[in-house]
């Protein structure tokens, strides 16, 4: 059995799984195998680009209802973002916080900001310069998923990183 070949195939398979994140659809926010990106090609995305971030790193983390604590999945994704940002020091990002629709407009603006801040503070604590990170909150105004079920709502409660 060629374990090296199996390992390579496994990494490719995981890359395929990670690239599903580009649609912003169901994402676990921290597939632990995503580190395979460093071992092989960027899947066609320009290194250090928005596409690269989404396809190979993971551009978003998710939160529980009315909460802004980072789960272990969220921290894993943010750890990969830290590594990626350290590899491309010229990149600046925007961290946008969002909520689901089950709240009022103004409070949700503040909650979205709190989520964006939590994600930014984690990156900064891991060594990313705060000058590279801009934050914004959209409250419940820009939902990632537009359904009305728990699946959609869980997608809406997020902090999304994008290349500036």
């Amino acid at each position: 059995m060629n374990y090296k070949a199996i390992g390579f195939l496994a990494a490719l398979a995981l890359l395929g799984a990670c690239s599903d994140n580009t649609t912003g659809g169901a994402s676990t926010g921290g597939a632990s195998g995503g580190g395979g990106a460093s071992a092989s090609s960027n899947g066609g995305a320009i290194p250090g680009s928005q596409q690269d971030l989404v396809a190979n790193v993971g551009d978003r983390v998710f939160f529980a209802y009315d909460q802004s604590q980072l789960s272990s999945d969220a921290r894993a994704t943010l750890d990969r973002q830290v590594q990626w940002l350290q590899r491309y020091p010229q990149v600046s990002i925007q961290m946008a916080g969002n909520t689901d629709e089950r709240g009022t407009e103004e409070y949700n603006l503040a909650l979205g900001q709190r989520r964006a801040n939590a994600a930014r503070d984690y990156l900064v604590a891991q060594g990313v310069s705060s000058a590279r990170i801009n934050t914004i909150s959209y409250g419940k105004e820009r939902p990632a998923a537009t359904g009305a079920d728990e699946q959609a709502y869980s997608q809406d409660r997020n902090a999304i990183t994008s290349v500036q």
């Binding site: 709240g103 407009e105 409070y107 503040a110 900001q113 801040n117 105004e141 990632a144």
Partner: protein, 448 residues
């Protein structure tokens, strides 16, 4: 003689604010007639509470004179009918319009069940229109009120709303709310790429116009208490901040210079400052700023989310939304800041508090496992009543006399949003027509 003098004095007082409205180009003078004060005895004392269960039958035939007469009668009639407190007599036109100076045929009006009657006439056009109106008590056959307005023809809707307010006030004993506007957010496009524009219209949904073009997300507009100005939130250049919009010049000005997001703005009752939230740390603080952007003052810095502040009508207290206790609840503090006491203790979380212009109630949005609800409570938190429940109802705003609330209702999953009005006792819930989906309404003060 004494009665007439008393009547003139009372009607002059009632009209005092109107006749001072020369700025909008409307002048008002009382019309003499065999005036008679409504007796204050129990049998003729009509109040808003009584009118809810027994709407006042009122006949409003087309005003005589130009074509505006019929249009004005319709606006007046619709205003009064929509309040739920009046019952315009149908087919009033069949009995015929009356010249304002004639004594109406009270027998005919009595026969169709009218208790009160409006007559009038419209003369002139263009820059010089004169509108006479008289309000009659049908049973004794006496004039209650008579006024002549002169203005430009473009103001005809305002005159109709002012007349409706005068009728409301003379018959119910408190000021009306028809000569007002609504500012709101118009929503178009799919939920994931929603286009939001500030819009403004008369409270009867007429004269709608858009104030912004949708290039940038806009939220939560509110009226200045005396000036033609709106405060709102805009994402202009991807910097979410509070802005002011001058309705006369259409000039938009960012409020102050803040590093963090500013949001949830309202004017203080004296119109000299704006109270709002600014993002700080992991939460938001409530601050006040002068209307020109200077004179910043921090009122809360609890480290939690403090937002949605609203002054009491006398400006002495502030009700606001805070999660300092663990989840979203309502708190009241003095206008200078300092210690705040929680007032919401019902089942669920509470948000979007607004203080009634009457000072007697605070309206709110309640959030629970079953969905949202609009309700009212006394400023000490007692007497909580729920008025309307739906997946997403939120953002109540009071009309100037505190008798009617407007809020918005959105479908789940970002379905269409509509403005809704409801009497504060929970009756007469109605959709307020808008040309697009609409949210975040705010009711203006009386324009006069």
């Amino acid at each position: 003689m004494t009665d007439t003098l008393t009547m003139l004095g009372r009607s002059a007082a009632a009209l005092g604010r109107r006749s001072a409205l020369i700025g909008a180009g409307i002048a008002a003078v009382p019309l003499l007639g065999t005036q008679r004060a409504l007796a204050q005895g129990a049998d003729t004392a009509i109040t808003v509470d009584r009118a809810r269960t027994a709407p006042i039958p009122i006949a409003i035939p087309a005003l005589a004179g130009t074509a505006l007469g019929a249009q004005m009668a319709e606006v007046i009639s619709n205003d009064l009918a929509r309040s739920g407190l009046f019952r315009p007599i149908g087919n009033a036109a069949q009995i015929g319009a009356n010249d304002a100076g004639d004594a109406p045929n009270f027998q005919n009006w009595k026969a169709v069940g009218a208790q009160t009657l409006v007559t009038g006439k419209v003369e002139g056009g263009g820059s010089n229109v004169r509108v006479e109106f008289r309000l009659w008590d049908v049973l004794p056959g006496q004039q209650i009120q008579g006024t002549a307005y002169t203005t430009t023809s473009t103001n005809w809707r305002r005159i109709a709303h002012i007349i409706a307010d005068v009728i409301y006030e003379r018959l119910l004993g408190e000021k009306g709310y028809f000569d007002t506007r609504i500012v709101y957010v118009s929503n178009t496009g799919p939920r994931e790429k929603r286009i939001k524009r500030l819009a403004i219209m008369d409270q009867d949904s007429e004269n709608n116009r858009f104030l912004t073009d949708g290039s940038w997300l806009v939220l939560t507009p509110r009226f200045h208490p005396t000036r033609d100005q709106i405060v709102y939130m805009s994402y202009y250049n991807n910097r979410p901040r509070v802005w002011t919009f001058d309705l006369g010049s259409a000039r938009q000005t960012v409020l102050g210079d803040f590093d963090g997001m500013t949001f949830a703005p309202r004017y203080a009752p004296d119109g000299n400052s704006i109270i709002m939230s600014v993002s700080r740390g992991s939460g938001s603080d409530i601050i006040t700023v002068g209307v020109a952007g200077g004179g910043r003052r921090t009122l809360t810095s609890s480290g939690s989310i403090d937002t949605s502040p609203c002054y009491s009508p006398d400006g002495s207290q502030i009700v606001f939304n805070s999660d300092r206790g663990g989840d979203q609840q309502l708190y009241v503090m003095g206008a200078g800041g300092g210690s705040a006491r929680r007032i919401s203790y019902g089942k669920g979380r509470y948000a979007t508090p607004v203080w009634s212009p009457r000072g007697d109630l605070i309206a709110f949005t309640r959030l629970g496992s079953g969905g949202f609800a609009i309700g009212v409570m006394r400023p000490d938190g007692s007497g909580e009543r729920i008025l309307s429940e739906s997946f997403d109802v939120e953002g109540p705003t009071f009309c100037p006399n505190g008798r009617v609330l407007m809020f918005y209702r959105a479908g789940q999953g970002g379905g269409g949003s509509r403005l809704v009005s409801i009497d504060i006792t929970g009756f007469n819930e109605r959709v307020v027509p808008t040309s697009t989906d609409a949210s975040a309404p705010a009711w203006s003060p009386l324009l006069a």
